[in-house]
Amino acid sequence: MSPLLASVGAETETAFTMPSINYYAIAPILILFGAAVVSVLVEAFVPQRGRRPVQLVIVVGSIVAALAVTIDLRGTRLVTGEGAIAVDGPTLLMWGALLVIGLLGALLMAERSIDPLGDAFAPRASALPGSEDEQEFTRRGFLQTEVWPFLLFALTGMLVFVASNDLLVMFVALEVMSLPLYLLAGMARRRRLLSQEAALKYFLLGAFSSAFFLYGAAMLYGFSGSVSLVAISDTLSAKTGEGSLVAIGIALLMVGLLFKVAAVPFHQWTPDVYQGAPTPVTGFMAATVKIAAFGALLRVLYVSLGGLRWDWEPMLWIIAALTMLVGSVVAITQTDIKRMLAYSSIAQAGFILVGVVAASPQGLASALFYLVAYAFTTIGTFAVITMVRDASGEATHLSKWAGLGKKSPVVAAVFSLFMLSLAGIPLTSGFVGKFGVFAAAIDSGNTWLVIVGVVASVIAAFFYVRVIVLMYFSDPTPDTASVVIPSAFTTIALTASAVMTIALGVFPQWLLDIITQAGVFIR
């Protein structure tokens, strides 16, 4: 019997009974949410000049606080909010990851000493590109501070998304996570047209996909009479018939989630959005949305549809294979580095899917490890991109990276490290991740998927290596970009991600231990 029904149905006879909620268990969500609301108020009442520092304090403070609570919660394993929220090992792990990455993302967004005009965001997103009042804003040094509440809301949404234990909460979380991101995508200070186009596409397609998700949820509800994942899985195992209803439900639900993880054929938004969005935002969402979306996907598949794995596995096999191949192949001929990394992120999603379809504890663990490793590497990668600039802003065209290794060896070295990690060379986090998912896949008998993965990795290696070739093996040209020395914000983010990339590659055991302790999803 669904908890919601309990509450609503109760109204008819006796007094309204409060749903029992373990507030401490969901404290991280509450902290972030509260912080988000506060920062909205700050936008409203704190004068323009003072906003930025206040916002930064709020953002960093709240994230750190949430992180502290999350760490304190370790080992917790419960379902609260009348079964709406599941706080278990994987949830906490992903919360931790999301918060840390979110913090790094916040640092990237806070960077303002790279671009002579200020930070990465348009002073007034509503202003016409190139219009005199925009220039006015720029001259008066206005800074876009609405990004901070957006960031916090998005993070809140992600936290809920990975913890949500029924489809309704999941849907709401999905929207809370996505809507701010749509807006953030459109706020680039330079190349406004691209940025707005990215926002539009992201928004329309995102809304489109969440409609699919919702309709799928409706179908499953229709089948099982509940939106709770556990209830659904129970009904699925209990009652047969109405196969098509379940099939459509699962399928549409998948569409919504696979869209977020950018799996082929629901991936096409990714390159455009990654390229158009302000680079810090791209980094932030490339890293976090992957985690959140895969978290939800894993929960749905393992908790709710575990019984039906034989039904959805074949479909996911094909999608995983397609995702790996298409991502890798198309990336080869890209000339814009952000776009190339977008395709690379598609390919990476494919690799993670290989772990997901293993549908085993190892599969879950390997996918989680891969997500964390990938998130750190990705945010670092985009951090570097923000620093490589020429007169017109970020120099994202690959030709401008030629000979960068000669001009600024350190940054080039760090970027090469990230590339090697994404290519899955041993002693980097990417390799351990790949190793994990392949191991899980072979263990559950999907050897051929691993073969496809191997082929894809080879193809992918080519374009990762190509960047290194450009930076080191070719001589600098007149229009080779130069690296701007960033402030502490970016430096910290960059260092952290580089350190993690190596640490997880050389000594992955500690994270593996944490993941092992995290165990599986609670039902």
């Binding site: 000979g403 392949f438 191991a439 050897t447 691993v450 990795s457």
Partner: protein, 517 residues
């Protein structure tokens, strides 16, 4: 043996390379000196270690160290050497100082990449080479196997010739293809071990202990073998080698072909055979076929090369054919021969590439045979070393390469008469292309352009002498090699369950007692 010999061997060059890399810009000379000292120190340590090695010990591996690394996957940092690994480690440790000394000025005027970078990379590479040969954990081996690509990739790509980046990328991707397929089988192996013993492991000894279902073996073998065949390189997976060799600095080529590629053949005898005995037996005919083709293919192609470096590359391919052949005929003569041949080939390759490099330094860095004639007149010492190198690569009796080649041929002949006989014919073509090279470049009237080209200088001679000495001394007195290799090979033979065919006529008992029993 409590002293962590092997770890020390790996740490010393690594530290050295860090030091070199951290030196201030412009202190190139200092960088070179540090590199030389470090590599020599490593050599000394290696020699000390080798003296501690007991050839007749009951332990399969010596100087073993083992510490858990990633217990979650049953991965441990465990190293140790048997005779085979020992000689290859020694080879690496010997060649690095030689290369450093020989390459003293190779990168002085390189537009990209700093001078110190080159030498730092060489030292890193030394660490990895020693690691890959002494790893006792298959995963650890794989890690070294793959990571090794990176420094070489940079050495080719940053310090190479015109086509360098094409060559470098081709090298890297080709090796990655092999490596990733190996990764797949590696994981498969892990999973299989998990299913058989409950807990998955990568420990070589316990993996060799399992007897895996033959059909599974046949699958897993392919992944490993493919990687090794690319590395070695075996026909038809060889085309990356000529490009890489032609584009890279002589020193790079020496380390690449002289040592790195040995990882391929080393992997076959160390991993393919003991872990997949049934599969090795099953695929032996195919492999032997590839080896035979390689022997002749490489020799024939080398016969009409006009670029010395490419010629050496193809000749190496032919030699790798011999080595592989010796491994897969499953006779102690063949396999010991292969290991000796690996060492010999390392030495002769080094001699050839370095001498050629010195020659090229003297004439616009051209590696075209047609650009040289009658060098003997202008630079007799250089020509002399060139001849020694050439002779050792055609396996002249009395040189170490002869010991290797003859044993390989003998071993093959024992098992498959016609294979052995056919392979033996290869020595004629080898002689043909080697002497053709010497005749074209060194003899005849001196080319006018080459007038007044200087002979080898002290540094260059110093670099070449040790190689030449080793080639001759080990040829006359190979016991130091054989004493350590024989026991290791016997273990391999037992692990594949193969025994040498007995002579058809039982001889008077003379000379049937091998020194290794």
């Amino acid at each position: 043996m409590n002293f962590p010999w092997l770890t020390t061997l790996m740490v010393v060059p690594l530290v050295g390379s860090i030091v070199v890399a951290l030196l201030p810009k412009g202190r190139d000379l200092l960088a070179k000196q540090v590199a030389l000292v470090v590599s020599l120190a490593t050599l000394v340590i290696t020699v000390l270690m080798a003296t501690q090695f007991q050839g007749d010990s009951a332990e399969p591996f010596q100087f073993v160290e083992s510490h858990p690394w990633i217990p979650a996957f049953g991965i441990s940092y465990s190293v140790g050497v048997d005779g085979i690994a020992l000689v290859l480690v020694a080879l690496a440790a010997t060649l690095v100082p030689v290369v450093v000394l020989a390459g003293w000025h190779d990168v002085d005027e390189s537009s990209r990449g700093s001078v110190k970078g080159y030498f730092a990379l060489i030292l890193v590479l030394e660490t990895l080479m020693i690691g890959v040969f002494s790893a006792l954990d298959v995963f650890l081996f794989y890690v070294f196997f793959e990571v090794m690509l990176i420094p070489v990739y940079f050495m080719i790509g940053r310090f190479g010739g015109i086509q360098r980046s094409y060559a470098a990328v081709k090298f890297l991707l080709y090796s990655l293809v092999g490596g990733l397929f190996m990764l797949a089988s590696l994981i498969g192996l892990y999973v299989v071990s998990a299913q058989m013993t409950g807990t998955g492991t990568f420990d070589f000894v316990s993996l060799a202990g399992l007897d895996i279902d033959p059909d599974v073996q046949k699958l897993l073998f392919l992944g490993f073998f493919f990687a090794f065949a690319v590395k070695a390189p075996l026909w038809p997976f060889h085309t990356w080698l000529p490009d890489a060799a032609a584009e890279s600095k002589p020193g790079t080529s020496v380390l690449l072909i002289g040592v790195l590629d040995k990882v391929g053949t080393f992997g076959m005898i160390r991993y393919c055979l003991p872990i997949f005995p049934a599969a090795s037996d099953f695929y032996a005919p195919v492999v032997i076929g590839m080896a035979l083709v390689g022997i002749f293919y490489g020799a024939f192609v080398a016969l009409s090369q006009n670029d010395m470096k490419r010629l050496f590359a193809y000749s190496s391919m032919s030699h790798f054919g011999f080595i592989t052949l010796g491994i897969f005929v499953f006779t102690s003569q063949g396999q010991t021969g292969s290991v000796v041949y690996m060492v010999a080939h390392g030495l002769s390759t080094a001699a050839l590439f370095l001498t050629a490099g010195f020659l090229m330094d003297r004439y616009r860095g051209s590696s075209l045979i047609s650009d040289y004639e009658g060098v003997n007149k202008a630079a007799p010492v250089l020509a002399g070393f060139f001849l020694v190198a050439a002779l050792s690569s055609l396996a002249l009796p009395g040189l170490v390469s002869f010991v290797g080649e003859f044993l390989v041929l003998l071993g093959s002949f024992e098992r498959y008469v016609w294979v052995g006989a056919l392979a033996t014919v290869g020595i004629v073509i080898t002689a043909a292309y080697v002497l053709r090279l010497y005749q074209r470049s060194m003899t005849g009237p001196l080319k006018p352009e080459l007038e007044g080209m200087g002979d080898l200088r002290g540094r260059e001679v110093t670099a070449l002498v040790p190689i030449a000495l080793l080639t001759i001394v080990l040829g006359v007195f190979p016991a130091p090699l054989l004493n350590v290799i024989n026991p290791a090979v016997d273990r391999v033979m037992t692990s594949v369950g193969a025994t040498d065919p007995a002579p058809t006529v039982q001889s008077a008992g003379l000379s049937t007692e091998g020194a290794d029993q």
